[in-house]
Amino acid sequence: MRVLVAIKRVPITGGRIVLTEDARAIDTRHLGFTMSPHEECGVEEAVRLIEANKGDSVVITLGPPEAVEQLRDAMALGIDRAIHLQTDGQEWDGESTAAALVEAIRADEAVAGPFDIIFFGNESADSGGFQVGARVAHALGRPLVTGLKRVTPEGGSVRCEQEVEGGRDVYVVPLPAVLTVKEGLNLPRYPSVPGKMRARTKPVAVITPLRPAPRLELVSLAVPAGQGRRAESLGSGAAAAPAVVEVLRKAGVL
């Protein structure tokens, strides 16, 4: 079995987002980075599938040189190798990102054979474009199922559970397929020390794609005004309990 998982490097924003002076990006000087939460579950699922079925697991990202950190994180969890589509840090829109991924996937498949499953996060944590997986699936002519909380390969097909209001919808599609997943699909493991050591020497293929002019072009970012909540202190410690109960009573929930 061959499994590919696509990830994206995003800042860990904490409690308050601060923008750069030109308001075109988040000021990340004091922030750490991670991969989008949905994608962590994609990585974990890919590792589990290869543990169970043997084969080849690959992680791919489009991002700045520093995104190699997230590729190493994925390999520390057990992914075999990485493909890094290196950018100069400029924003790529979903359409261009998908096109660059498709080209790299085709090149890898021409050498090593088709990926049975390509995992994406349902949407990225930062730009939330909801489209890269769908565009890649269409370009490759493969079935796409989105928003998955359970993935079960069954021979030449895969059973997929998608969370919807009032339960889960089930899809069964033939492999190869493109699947977008959501956090909650599994509980990702923590990287082990030997895993981190091994990740340092696993291969990372670097490709430098050209950035086309974006057709969804970011102009500026803004932090929305607060919701006007005015924190009223009800006191501190256990002594505040009667005031809390009073608030609950006034809200009509007690």
Partner: protein, 290 residues
């Protein structure tokens, strides 16, 4: 210039019409249940053909899970750019949109260079306004003309929810715990208070990542978005990831040992101190008054 809208039951589609009308008239509607059971590629194919036949100047849908999914497929098959979760549009050339990033913690202004803008409207961000209603597209010939390949991805079964208890999405009260609860066992006092209030139990991402609670309890950008009358946040710092799930809460009560925690500054009511003393004291007070 006609405008095509993918409609589904509920307010988000009515809110979508508010922005769609800015692009012109008449409005035409294709309904999400045009193909039943749901087959997202088939809907995208129907929208693609209908948009071409109508020479639609734009295609809109609500930014629901299914709205975004179908529009992303339409974007792929028609090689057009797609702006998801917009809250404002200006139909000049090029089209300007304001859209949500980071689950609504950040707003992006963007240009959409496209002969046919594909736009979804973020739910509950735009008012419902009166105006011309869309006429339904006659989808029968379009359904009959579907390629079998577009029916390959289709809902074939439904699994009922496994958990009992009060659902986060419909709960009037949610008692939620964060890293400050300290452990899986620490949630006993959260559950006790929730039981007294007939509330759902929620938690932050730190808690599910630690394995203390199942992911189905998680409130936030990658968990459940909630809209209770009262949200009681116990030992939750209030990262943007969590706050993105709270925008619909009517009242937020924060309990935290750090008075400067973001959630303490973005709440309606606060209690400073150790939640391990405060939460049982609230439960005791409710019992006393009953």
């Amino acid at each position: 210039m006609s405008v095509l809208v993918l409609m589904e039951p509920g307010d988000p589609s009515r809110q979508t019409l508010t922005l769609a009308r800015k692009f012109g008239e008449p409005l035409h509607a294709v309904h999400m249940d045009a193909v039943d059971p749901f087959a997202p590629d088939a809907l995208a194919a129907i929208l693609q053909t209908a948009a071409e036949e109508l020479q639609a100047s734009a295609v809109f849908a609500a930014g629901t899970e299914r709205g975004n999914e179908v529009m992303a497929r339409l974007a792929g098959r028609s090689s057009l750019p797609f702006a998801a979760n917009c809250i404002a549009v200006n139909p000049i050339d090029p089209v300007t949109v304001t859209r949500l990033r980071w689950g609504g913690s950040l707003l992006e202004e963007a240009l959409l260079h496209s002969p046919r803008p594909l736009i979804t409207v973020a739910p509950h961000t735009v008012p419902i306004e009166a105006g011309p209603e869309p006429t339904d597209v006659d989808v029968k010939p379009l359904v009959a003309g579907l390629d079998q390949r577009d029916l390959m991805v289709r809902v074939s079964d439904h699994v009922a929810p496994s958990h009992g208890g009060v659902s986060l999405t419909t709960a009037k009260v949610i008692v939620s715990g964060g890293r400050g609860v300290g452990s899986k066992e620490g949630f006993a006092i959260i559950e006790e208070l929730a039981g007294l209030l007939g509330a759902a139990v929620g938690c932050s991402r730190a808690v599910t990542s630690a394995g203390w609670r199942p992911h189905s309890d998680q409130v936030g950008q990658t968990g459940t978005k909630v809209a209770p009358e009262v949200y009681i946040a116990c030992g939750i710092s209030g990262a943007t990831q969590h706050m993105a799930g709270l925008k619909g809460a009517k009242r937020i009560l924060a309990i935290n040992s750090d008075p400067q925690a973001p959630l303490m500054l973005n709440a309606d009511y606060t209690v400073a101190g150790d939640l391990k003393e405060i939460v049982p004291a609230i439960s005791a007070e409710i019992r006393k008054q009953k």
